[in-house]
């Protein structure tokens, strides 16, 4: 967690203003608990139908919480007045499927044909997990949640195809059902896990080497649980090579005004 965030408080507009001013540039796990956090994908309109179709066919990793009008950077339905060009702590710029750099402001890259897709994030249900007394190891450690590319194939749509990415949280063995039930209540924030237990069963070789985020220890009395992750589009973008795409940097989410309860089923 970014140390400066503590002083900023937990008000979504204030947190977004802190992103805009540069005061907040770190990960957002643990911030604004009880509010919706969202993954971001920005694509040109020419790819927008196929990407929205990809999300429709893959609701587990890509539950849509808002889509902006063509050329409009305001996600008006979940955060009126917000600006997708400045209001995330960190962005990634992808050209031809290759990561071309990161930025904290993408105003100079914005185009009239850009469409912004906001995709539900598992940080949204962490408040409910915490309320049930479940550990959130990455928040305890002040690190980013570990994320892994799996061998689970997404349903393709036009040019978009690729593997599912998951986030991992260690859960005490006796509490796995509780974790399934709680998160299953939030289908628009990835819902119930896609896998519980053996990482190899979904193609993950080594929990200590996540593809995104930071490794966390799994204790002897704990089981790793895996939830579909909104970083999936970034693996898909690598695969599908659009001319340009802009995403959030993993763990550096958009913080909406919307309450987490709004993403319950």
């Amino acid at each position: 967690m970014d140390a400066s965030s503590v002083a900023i408080g937990d008000d979504p507009p204030a947190l977004r203003a802190a992103c805009r001013s540069g005061a907040l540039g770190g990960i957002t796990a643990g911030l604004a608990m009880g509010r919706v956090q969202a993954n971001l994908v920005i694509l040109p309109q020419a790819l927008a139908f196929e990407f929205l179709l990809f999300c429709q066919r893959n609701p587990k990793p890509c539950p849509i919480v808002d889509v902006t009008d063509i050329g409009d950077p305001e996600p008006a339905r979940i955060a009126p007045g917000a600006d997708l060009r400045t209001d995330l702590p960190r962005y990634r710029i992808w050209r031809d499927g290759v990561l071309d750099g990161e930025a904290t402001d993408i105003s100079d890259l914005w185009r009239d044909d850009f469409v912004g897709f906001l995709i539900g994030c598992s940080f949204t249900f962490e408040n409910a997990l915490r309320a049930a007394g479940l550990p959130l190891r990455h928040i305890e450690r002040g690190s980013n949640v570990p994320m892994y590319v799996t061998d689970i194939a997404c349903a393709p749509a036009g040019r978009f195809a690729g593997p599912m990415v998951v986030s991992m949280r260690p859960v005490p063995r006796r509490r796995t059902v509780t974790a399934v039930e709680i998160t299953g209540d939030y289908p628009r924030a990835h819902g119930a896990p896609v896998h519980v237990g053996d990482p190899a069963a979904i193609g993950i070789g080594d929990l200590d080497r996540p593809d995104f985020g930071d490794a966390v220890p799994v204790d002897a009395d704990e089981v790793p649980m895996f939830w579909a992750c909104g970083v999936t589009p970034q693996a898909v973008i690598m695969n599908s090579r659009p001319d340009i795409a802009i995403t959030h940097a993993p763990g550096h989410m958009f913080i909406a005004d919307l309450a987490d309860q709004e993403l319950r089923g």
Copy 2:
């Protein structure tokens, strides 16, 4: 209900083959109970993003159950092998927002840039209503369900905007909660009703004069209940005037292989 349908049976592939051969040209209410029925909208690719976005912003009238790949008439995820050009009993062709005619086969109109949208239909939950002993007046009478244009505005998306259309079923006064609970279990088939009671409260002037389908009597001990309807895109098309659009004729639905249980929440 089309009299010929009784001989065809309730097997979705057989019912679609009957549409293709011309043996089935009537409404589909009461057919293939327990299977998903779907509304159809076909639009050119150039309008596909904005229409899919319209559906995403209006999940109550327009819950997506499948979208075909560009130029492909097969809704492969809900009815492998089916053909949207021939497998519905009746189509409507719209040019510049005006109804230009009906057809029972649209093969000659199909284009390489067409995209087919299959939208959940309230016929899907009628089996569950019947199992709970609730009346289905239009099926009892062998008529089409009555549908009305309301004064409830849909959330616009690009060129698509317009009023919500609803279907109406009379429900015994003491059973309205049961009807809400049962249909609320099917969010991808319109889910819980949008209104119960006074038709004027949602801009319906006269129950005896539906905008689509056939009027049915509401008995003294019954309350009219209104569910969002997949004919909504037809009202939106009238408003938004795309060059060409093809839809099902109201009540003449696509019958999928998918079981109704698949559209439960």
